[in-house]
Structures are given as C-alpha cells and as structure tokens.
C-alpha cells in the first residue's frame, strides 16, 4: 500500500478550441474512493475516459500498477492490453446501462461474459457465480435468464455493477452511476455501492455532479472546472471548508437535507 494504483500527470486534451483537460494530475491509491465533481463540460467525464484508456490525451502520462506490481503505461499500451485490463483488473460502470450491458443477452450471460473472457469454461460455475452476484447487488437470482430490457433503470445499474465486480477488479471507474434515476432509487444504489466498496476494498474513481453522492461514497473529492482541478482533498474538508470560489458555489447550491 505504499504506491498509488494509478498515477497521472500533465494531462492535456483539446477538442477544437475547447480545453477539455488543461494540465490535470491525479493519483488513486489502493482502496481509495475518489469523486470527481464539477458541472457539465468541466472535463470530468473526459478525465475518467483518459484515465481508463478509452481516449488518448494530447499530452501527459497515465501509469497503472498491475497485480504483479508491473507499471503499465496506459497511453502506450496496446489495445489488447487495455482491453485485457478492462476485463480483469478494471471495471467501468456507465451512466447509461445500454453502454455497459448487452441488452439482448440474459442477466446471467451479461455477468458471465466477464468470467468467460477471463477463461471461465464451466457453465454451472459461471451460472452459480452470476446468481450469487445478482444476490449481492440485491437482485432476484430467479430472474437470471431475463434480459436487461425487462429490468428497471435501477436494476440495470445493479446488473452493470455485478457484471463489473464479478471478476474482482481492483479499480472501478464509474461515470454518473446514479444519473437519470429516481431519487429514492439513487439513494438505494449509492448505499449498495458504499457497502460493496467497503467490503471489497475497491479503489473507485467516480464522476458525479451529485454532491450528496460524493459525501456518502468518497474518501477524497476532486473539483474540476474548465478542464482544471481547482480543489482537491479529504472529502469532508472539501465540502465543509471549501476554499475555491467554484467549490463554495457548488456546495452552496446543494439543498440542505
């Protein structure tokens, strides 16, 4: 636990005239839950995608220390290498379940795919593990043969999470995992994520514009604006003692519960 899992620095990325990332540096340590907050267009989702190796920055480094202690240079990694990380040591939970699930494949197949791509060739064990994970994300395992289309938005997100966690990743990226859900559904989902993350000791990097979600889940908060990190630190300190004007605005905009 003496080195970060993911280390990045000097990240720059322009989309035409827009500076999506303007000199960003961020580290994530094992077991650490980091929230990136900011408004739409602040560059937070772009940062997530760059760190996850889904898009390349114009400049900057992203280094990941894998299970064997080998440092992987993410931008220089082959697509095969990136995909292999993404289906073993990493997970990605998308805001839109359609981006993270195969909508025509059963719940069991969706969860099982990660096991099969990791070499699982025993139908019975794959199915048992998929059912177990459905239970762990509080879904009814009897619905294992139903396709995601039959599930509500909140259940689809649970399925996505189960699909990610079944191979026991070390680092999970989440892009607005509760976005677009009803408030009561959001609360339950956040609570589920909180419990799983604590139990599994996962490192999580998640993007949200929901300050309450950040407070509930995150150990550390990174505030982004116009492609820059304007403030970062201990989650409760950033929220209770915000220094930057923009952070104060964000915190002040939250309705007190």
């Amino acid at each position: 636990m003496t080195a970060p899992l993911l280390e990045s620095s000097g990240l720059h990325l322009r989309f035409g005239a827009v500076r999506a990332l303007d000199g960003v540096a961020i580290d994530i340590w094992p077991g650490e839950v980091v929230a990136i907050v900011g408004e739409s267009g602040s560059g937070k989702s772009t940062l997530l995608r760059v760190l996850a190796g889904q898009i390349d920055a114009d400049a900057g480094s992203v280094l990941y220390r894998d299970t064997d202690g080998v440092t992987q240079d993410i931008p220089a990694l082959s697509e095969a290498g990136r995909r292999s990380l993404m289906r073993s040591e990493w997970g990605f939970v998308h805001q839109n379940a359609r981006d993270g699930l195969r909508m025509g494949i059963s719940a069991g197949g969706n969860i099982g795919e990660r096991l099969m791509s990791a070499g699982g060739r025993h139908y019975g064990r794959i199915r048992a593990e998929a059912a177990d994970w459905m239970a762990r994300v509080e879904m009814d395992p009897d619905r294992i043969d139903e396709t995601p289309r039959n599930f509500s938005g909140g259940m689809q997100q649970r399925l996505q999470i189960a699909r990610c966690l079944v191979t026991q990743p070390r680092l999970v990226f989440m892009d607005e995992p509760t976005g677009g859900l009803d408030v009561s559904v959001q609360a339950k989902l956040l609570d589920l994520i909180r419990g799983l993350v604590a139990k599994l000791g996962l490192a999580v990097l998640f993007v949200t514009h929901d300050i309450a979600a950040a407070r509930l889940l995150a150990h550390r908060i990174v505030v982004m604006r116009h492609g820059r990190i304007v403030e970062e630190g201990l989650a409760d300190r950033v929220l209770d003692d915000p220094q930057h004007e923009y952070t104060q605005l964000l915190v002040a905009s939250v309705l007190a519960a």
Binding site: L216, H219, E232, G233, L234, D240, Q243, L249
Partner: protein, 232 residues
C-alpha cells in the same frame, strides 16, 4: 506526562467568495498542549471559535498556517500538513471524534454504525459486534433498536449511538463536541464514566461541554478561546 497533541501558532480564517470575497479570521496564533490521560475543556463565548478549533483538530477544516502535531504511529505528525490519505489513517488509528449530530447512513444498523470503526482497525467481526452491543447496552439503548438503522431514532438515541461509535475503539486522542447535549441524567453519568475510563487508559481528550456540571467532573483544565475582531 507526555504531550500527545500540540497546537502551535494555528490560524484559521474564512473567505466567502460568494459574499464578494468577505473574509474573517477566527483563530490566530492558537496554542494548545494536551497530555496523555488529560481532558481539556474548550471555553469561551459563543461564536469565538471553539467549534472551529475542534473541526481543525479533527481535520475537517484545513489550517491556514501553524501546526497540529499528533502522536501517531510512534512519532509526531502534523495533521495540518497531512494529505487526505494520512488524515484518514490518523482518524482510523489515533483520532476519535464524537460530533453533536450523527451523520445517518441509510440502511446501516446502529450496531454496525458502532462496529464500523472497529472493523476498520482490523477487529474480528464477532468481537466488534460484541463490543458494539456492550457499549450500546451500557448507554441504555434498548436492544430492539440495535439492529435498526438510526435514521428514525430520537435525538438522544442517535447521540448515544454516536457516543458508542466514538468510544468503541480506544483512540489515543478523542474529541468530544457537546457529548451530553441531548442526554438525560442517567446517560450523562454513563458518558462521564466513559470519559474517566478513557483518561485512565491514557487517552487525551479535548471537549466542548456546555453543561458546567459535566465539565467540572471530567475536565482537568480549561482552554479559553477568545473572539478575534472581525477582519474586513
């Protein structure tokens, strides 16, 4: 007697960017030394900065300048300069905090709320659960409530869950913000007993006690915070 908490030249102010950059200073050149086995009560007029100092000591507020030296893992570390990970480690192992209000987490039972810091310190689950149950029982929380989430509890019941959580691990340093505010006499005595036990095992305590009787029974000395004039 060894100092386990030393506040040196601590300054803390606030700049309200949304109020046109209005700034005011709350703490300046604050000094405080607390020894092991000692309980220090913060005093001073309302609004003078007792709570601000408590929050700085907990790491919840950042210091503008100065040091907050804590005995942690066999050495002294400066909380004011610690990064987020170190603050979390200090809070896990060294520094306990009982706030006035419980931050309720949905669907987590009172017993699990209390056991959580024990598990984080590596205690076995059944041992942590037993200890949580014992403390909640000692604080007179009815057993039927132990397994329920505290969201629907009364203020006094929530406060007792909070106290149990703060006293469950034997933190070397414990911060108490109005620990008896919403308690009846019987439970107040239980808390006073817990504070005495903590002192006798060598813990250093810093508290804000509006209840003078409680303060007199637990505090070895007081530390007065004086209001600074508002800086424009």
């Amino acid at each position: 007697m060894s100092a386990v908490l030393k506040v040196e030249e601590l300054a803390k102010g606030f700049t309200l960017h949304l109020q046109g950059g209005l700034g005011f200073q709350v703490l300046r050149d604050e000094q405080l030394v607390v020894n092991a086995g000692e309980c220090v009560a913060l005093t001073g007029p309302s609004g003078a900065g007792k709570s601000t100092l408590m929050r700085c000591l907990q790491g919840n507020y950042g210091a503008d300048s100065g040091r907050i030296m804590l005995a942690h893992r066999g050495g002294m570390v400066d909380l004011a300069a610690a990064d987020a990970r170190l603050v979390r480690e200090i809070r896990r192992e060294t520094l306990g905090y009982v706030s006035q209000f419980l931050r309720v987490i949905p669907r987590v039972s009172a017993r699990d709320v209390v056991a959580e810091p024990l598990l984080a310190r590596g205690m076995a689950p059944d041992e942590a659960e037993a200890r949580a149950t014992a403390l909640l029982t000692r604080l007179n929380l009815p057993p039927r409530l132990h397994g329920l989430p505290p969201a629907t509890f009364s203020g006094g019941e929530q406060q007792r869950v909070n106290l149990a959580r703060g006293f469950a691990p034997d933190y070397p340093i414990l911060l108490l913000d109005e620990p008896t505010a919403s308690l009846d006499a019987a439970n107040r005595d239980v808390v006073i007993g817990l504070i005495h036990e903590a002192k006798s095992r060598g813990a250093a305590l810093v508290g804000i006690f509006h209840d003078i009787e409680v303060r007199d029974r637990v505090a070895d000395r007081t530390h007065e915070i004086l209001a600074l004039e508002e800086a424009a």
